[in-house]
């Protein structure tokens, strides 16, 4: 079975499996980012979340993020797994692992990946509260795309 470095999954994410995909004899650092489900957002209590995705395109865009990191740090190895479906508070929604020869680049790459996920990867979360539910968009708190798309730099850089 070929290992997929960029995946959308339904089951709980196994952190060590994501890390093992970027292990490398020339790596001096593996930086791991773990995104979890938070209970309170702006004082509002979330009961659980539902994530949905346009799966084939989301995996393609995660892979594009990996390419972007490698363009900057050619020796980097990147793996990203994002979970969809119903998640409870504290569940792991995303795991990013970046290995590089030197630690600074692995921190940068990991940070870059999570910010880019919030820009270009077609995944949505719906927060469920005691008194309602809502699809969340535009988490970067920028104005939503007035001309119907992210600007070309955002999508293609």
């Amino acid at each position: 079975m070929t290992e997929k470095n960029f995946e959308i999954v339904q089951e709980p994410i196994k952190i060590e499996e994501v890390i093992s995909k970027v292990e490398d004899r020339n790596a001096g650092a593996i930086n791991t980012f773990i995104g979890t489900v938070r209970e309170l957002t702006k004082g509002k209590k979330t009961l659980y979340l539902k994530y949905d995705a346009y799966v084939p395109m989301a995996e393609k865009k995660l892979s594009q993020i990996g390419d972007e990191i490698q363009a900057k740090y050619p020796d980097a190895k990147v793996a990203i797994t994002h979970r969809i479906g119903e998640l409870a508070i504290s569940d792991i929604a995303v795991v990013i692992a970046v290995s590089t020869p030197h630690r600074a680049d692995s921190f940068d790459g990991s940070r870059y990946a999570i910010e880019r996920i919030k820009e270009i990867v077609p995944i949505w979360k719906k927060e469920h509260w005691e008194d309602g539910e809502k699809w969340i968009g535009d988490q970067l708190e920028k104005t939503a795309y007035p001309d119907g798309k992210p600007n070309p730099e955002e999508v293609q850089k």
Binding site: A53, Y54, K118, V121, W124, K126, I136, G148, K149, P150
Partner: protein
């Protein structure tokens, strides 16, 4: 036939994820207008991104018979 995919809020407004258009050639912008006419509550399609065959596409891009056009509301992964 052109297949249209709608996600998140857009999917909820229409009540299904996938619809079909009989057009042979139509621009992304024209698809937006057409869907909004058909589903008046779908105004949020204006602030959605579009993708043709899984790549982001501007309103001027033409979709053809057999293409897959997705409308992607602001994303919230991570």
């Amino acid at each position: 036939m052109i297949r249209i995919l709608l996600f998140a809020e857009l999917e909820e407004v229409v009540g299904k994820r996938e619809i079909e258009l009989s057009d042979e050639e139509i621009s992304v912008g024209e698809i937006r207008e057409k869907l909004e006419k058909q589903y008046p509550d779908l105004h949020k399609i204006r602030s959605a991104m579009a993708a043709v065959n899984e790549e982001y596409a501007e309103n001027t891009v033409l979709a053809h018979e057999g293409d897959l056009v997705a409308f992607i509301p602001p994303v919230s992964g991570g």
